[in-house]
Structure formats: structure tokens, C-alpha cells
Symmetry: C2
Subunit: 359 residues, 2 copies
């Protein structure tokens, strides 16, 4: 399937796919979806472009909302933030962007860029910086590829614009997070503004199309869960019932643990899911079944719709799926950046397909 633009009636599938890739985090796709549909109705469909279609020096602006997901729920995304960020980038680089890109295809940040691209009248790049969702600013492919984190531009609802020239990715995260909290725990951010030439090999290509395909796979399917599992190439970790959810929001992050007790064929099993905005580690009786950076998503067993971390409720009938991350995350730098140790887990990374083969 080759897409040349995203129309209003593509948004539901895109949102569904982005929610699945969000691995429980990345914010609520609903707000972004409404904004995207509204913006396309007002400004027309959003052209989808590939890196191969752009000249070497074309400017690509990765955009994402940052904040605590339980806060961004309540926030209204303004039209002014992307405009202010692009104005600042034009001022700095002396030319307008040729495309905007989702920094994070998983969750709301995969859908909302469609609205921003429509409002700005700029194409959307069929790529992102994660292939999933991650909670921290430096956890992007551009960082793993060794590009300097030399510029961050942020804008908030109040209209403030903050430009950060950090010495490294960790300072980038620290300062951007502080600005975000001061701005009311939500801000729009352009991180790793780069040329198309530098983007090759430093972004994960085709992920907007992939999210759309994932979303479409389950639409109207007789067996949505089976269709989703096939499309993802995912292992089914457990099918069961949510029996315990422990969550707390601290320092802009949601952390916690969810327990799923097996039903049907899985009766007698019990899966523990460790959360830090995203689903990070799945264990059963001390044995790890899947771990970050591989993707772990909780879906409604009947509809195969992704359940986000903040949507987890006692008694839900769910299935937990896990599948391989982009190969970039399995490199030494990728694992150092977003492997289990980066989240404080004392685990050596083993790919999900190997863990499954051992089971």
C-alpha cells in the first residue's frame, strides 16, 4: 500500500495503530485524533513524504508533546504552539521546514503531528524517532545514531518559547523536563531538528504507514486479536483478567505494576507488568517473558484495541502481546539508551523471540 496523503477518514486507523505502538504510554490518542480530524477538515489532507523524496538539505522538524500523560489528558492542544516553534526554527536556520516528523509514533504523539502538519501546511515525514513510545527525551533514534542533541525548541499553551542548546542528550532531557513542569506539565517540543541528509539511518522510516496498517488490520476483522497478532508478528504472553493495578505519578512520570491472571487456556498463570509510562517488563513467577526495548502492549481481548497505562482497570479482559523492536534499539548504544538497565532494571537484555523460544 502506498499512501500519498492522510485524510480525515484515515485518522481512526492511524490512532488505533499508534495506540498499539504506544505500549501503554505516549498519551491518549483521542485528543490528538480530534485535533487531526478538525485540522484536516479546515486545511485539507496532509501530504505524506519519504526521506527519498526530499533534497539533502531539506529541513525536517521532529515534534512531540512532552508531559505527564495523566496531565496531557486534560490539556487542550493549541494551534499556536507548532506555529511558534516553526517561527523560531526559521529564525535560527534561515529557512522554513520541508517536513515535520513525529518524534514518537506510539500514542498521541503519533497522531497529533498530522494536526500540526495540516495547520502549518507542511508535509509529514513517513518516519519517527522511536518506532514505539518512550518516556524520556534522549530515547530517540537520532541520539542512538550519534547525532548531536544541539537544539531543542519548546512552546507551551501560555505562548512561551524556550530554546535549549544542551551539551548532551541527558542535559537535554533534564532541562526540557524542568521547562515542561514549569509550563504546567505539558509542552510541545522540537528536538533534533535535522536535514534530510542527516536523517538517513538516524530515523525509523515507514512508521506512519505501519501504524495505519496496524490500525486497519483490526478494523472490521472477524478475529481482531488474531489479525493484530499476525500483523505485528507478536507473541501472546497471556490472556486473562486484570486483578491488580498500582500506579503513582511522580516527577512527571507514571510508575506502577499491573497483574494479569490467566483465564481459559491460561488459567492458573499470573503475569506481572512493570510500568513507567510504558509497559517495560513482563514477568511470570520470576521469569522474564519480554522486556524493553521490545514492545509490550495490553489489548482488549475482544476488540484488540490497545489499553493505555492510565486506562488499566480492575476486571478488564485483556491480552498481552509482545514483539521485536526496531533493530536500532538492539545495538549496544540502543540498549544503553533504552534497554532494561536504562530504566533501573537489573536485567540483561534478551530479545523477545529468544525468550519465547525458551518457553
Amino acid at each position: 500500500m502506498s499512501l500519498t496523503s492522510i485524510d480525515a477518514n484515515d485518522i481512526a486507523a492511524l490512532a488505533r495503530g499508534c495506540a498499539v505502538l504506544g505500549t501503554g504510554g505516549g498519551g491518549d490518542v483521542r485528543t490528538g485524533s480530534l485535533a487531526a480530524v478538525r485540522a484536516i477538515r479546515e486545511h485539507g489532507p496532509v501530504p505524506l513524504t519519504r526521506l527519498a523524496d526530499l533534497p539533502e538539505d531539506a529541513l525536517v522538524v521532529p515534534l512531540s508533546g512532552i508531559g505527564a500523560p495523566t496531565v496531557s489528558h486534560e490539556m487542550i492542544h493549541g494551534e499556536d504552539e507548532p506555529r511558534r516553534i516553526v517561527e523560531e526554527i526559521e529564525r535560527i536556520f534561515g529557512r522554513p521546514p520541508s517536513a515535520i516528523m513525529s518524534s514518537e509514533i506510539g500514542g498521541a504523539n503519533g497522531v497529533a503531528p498530522v494536526a500540526w502538519a495540516a495547520q502549518l501546511g507542511v508535509p509529514l515525514l513517513d518516519a519517527d524517532g522511536m518506532g514505539r513510545a518512550f518516556p524520556e527525551v534522549q530515547m530517540v533514534s537520532m541520539y542512538v545514531a550519534g547525532l548531536p542533541a544541539d537544539l531543542v525548541v519548546m512552546s507551551d499553551v501560555a505562548g512561551n518559547v524556550v530554546t535549549i542548546r544542551p551539551v548532551d542528550g541527558l542535559w537535554s532531557e533534564r532541562l526540557a523536563r524542568a521547562v515542561c513542569v514549569a509550563a504546567g506539565s505539558h509542552a510541545l517540543m522540537a528536538d533534533y531538528v535535522l536535514t534530510a541528509g542527516r536523517a538517513r539511518g538516524a530515523v525509523i522510516e515507514g512508521t506512519v504507514t505501519r501504524a495505519l496498517e496496524i490500525g486497519r488490520a483490526t478494523q472490521g476483522a472477524a478475529d481482531p486479536l488474531g489479525a493484530l497478532q499476525d500483523r505485528l508478528g507478536a507473541a501472546r504472553l497471556i490472556t486473562g483478567k486484570l486483578t491488580d493495578v498500582e500506579r503513582r505519578t511522580t516527577g512527571g512520570f507514571v510508575r506502577g505494576t499491573a497483574t494479569i491472571e490467566g483465564t481459559g487456556d491460561d488459567r492458573g498463570r499470573r503475569l506481572a507488568l512493570e510500568l513507567q509510562n510504558e509497559n517495560l517488563v513482563a514477568t511470570e513467577e520470576g521469569r522474564t517473558l519480554a522486556m524493553v526495548p521490545d514492545l509490550i502492549t495490553v489489548v482488549d481481548t475482544e476488540t484488540a484495541a490497545a489499553v493505555q497505562t492510565e486506562g488499566l482497570r480492575y476486571g478488564q479482559r485483556v491480552t498481552v502481546l509482545a514483539w521485536p523492536c526496531d533493530p536500532l534499539w538492539r545495538t549496544p548504544k540502543g540498549l544503553e539508551t533504552a534497554g532494561p538497565a536504562a530504566f533501573g532494571y537489573d536485567l540483561d537484555y534478551v530479545p523477545v523471540e529468544e525468550l519465547m523460544a525458551r518457553a
Copy 2:
């Protein structure tokens, strides 16, 4: 006296004067003094310039360190921060600064700009944005004069540079403070970068010379306290002994109360001094003797050297002086910005000379 440049042997007097104008706050003048002497020895004397000497479009960069004073004590001021800020300003404005200015003549921020000017090879403007010290970013003459707080450039010891385009002065304060705390509670900041044309009437002129004159008045004087009082035109609120000091550092600020019990002619009297980085309100038996924005400084009774908030110690023999602030602070906008209510005191401002006349 007309100065054309500041030499290494002017620094002691300048530091003494800046400490007096610091009204207890503004950070420790010693660190800035050492840096200024060292920088002048390495780079030569710092030309002192007047607004009248600059062309209309000459760029003036107000610089100051921000942070909790009890933290900045421990920090080493790098040479790189002013250079990085000036580079960013050149990038934004397309031309180099013609002068740097102290944002705050009171305390360390009155002395350290001499070091920065020497390192940068740029003249120092004989002016500042306060005529004293204040704890918050928006409490500057440029804000009172109605100039837009449209640009803040910050740099920290790690080498990060943050540019803020705030919607107003309060957002400027909020975001700059958040960045400062994330950067380890100390950062260098350029705020209200302006042309010489816009600076007229929006900065407090002659304050570097004034600080020098204050410092010189007590050097080698037979009666340092009398000489200082004369030079300042200050009222003596009490002479006595520090009997109680209560201080706490919260959110980057030092707050507290100091009690001075009278000795000699003042025996039987007791003065309470309310502190928030600076000395803000002096009361005796419920009667207010002086209040912000007028200047209240605690000095050593014998040497007339200013005692800073964090230097207050039980048993010290001190005299409390108070004198009128710059007329700009007594305008409605000045009082709204830095009058007693701006610090949470339920007091109507009365000039110190009127309060003294009533006594």
C-alpha cells in the same frame, strides 16, 4: 569623580559598595571580587561607559547570576558562561554587544560583571536594572519601564545555553527559575537585552560609580559608620546585637527573620527584620520603620561593612541602616512590581523618610 575604567585596585571598594546596596542579598561579593581582580590582571582594566556615550542602536546586554545565594557561595564561576551567552546574542541579533550591564548592582551581581566585561573585552555600562538587589527576575527597571521581557538567554556551568522568549515578566521568572534549579541552582542570565536608545529611562544610571563611592567613603575613615550613613543619606534604625536568626532555604530562596536588640542609646529596643534573600521589612513593636523597595542594610557597627543575610550570626554587633530607593521603584508600577505586597506583606508602602519623620 569621573571614572573611565575600572582597575584591579578599584575592586575592593566596588565590592564593599555593592554589598551595602545588596540589602543583605545578591550573593557573596567575595567570589565575584576574586574573579574580577583575576580577569583584569589577565585582560586589562574594564572601560566604564555611559549611555550618553553610546549610539542609539548599540546593544546593551544586562547580565546577572541567578540562584539561591547559599548555593552560589559554593559555585565556581566559569569564563565560558558569558562567552556562550554573548555568542547566542550575536546569533540572534546579528551583531556583537557594545556594552554589558549589571542587572543588579547589589551584591555579587554588581561586581562579577567587571570580570565578565574584562573576559569579553567589552565595556561595562555605568548603570544597572535595580539600584539595589531583588530576588526575582522580573523585578528590574526595564520591566517597570514597560519594556517587553521578550528574550532571556541563560548559560550554566555544564555549558548548556537556554533561550527563553516569555509572554511576560512573570513567565520569564518562572521559566528561568526552573532552568536554574535544573542546572544545579546557579546560572548566568542575560535578561532584557536592549539598545542604548531603549535603555534611556529604563535603567538606573550611575550606579557602578555610586557603589564605588560608597565603598570608598568607609575605606580608612575614622568613623566608618558615620561616613557610610552620610554618603547614603541613611537613617539609623537601631544599633545593637543580633539575638535571633531564623533562616530556611526553600525553592531557591532564603527566607527568615532576624532580631536585633538595642545596646547603648538603643537599650531596651528590639527590631525585627523580615528577610527573603534581601532585608525587606523592619518593624519595632508592630510599627514599621522601613520597607521594601527602600533599602535596608545590616552593617557591622565597627567597620560599617555590610552583613549579608547568610552571614547573620548570633551575637554580632550591628547597625541597621535604611535609605530611599530610586524614584522609579516608588511609581505605581514600581510598587506593584517590588513593593511590600509583591513579597506577600499586607502593608501600604510609606517612604522611609516619612516613616522616620513620624518617629
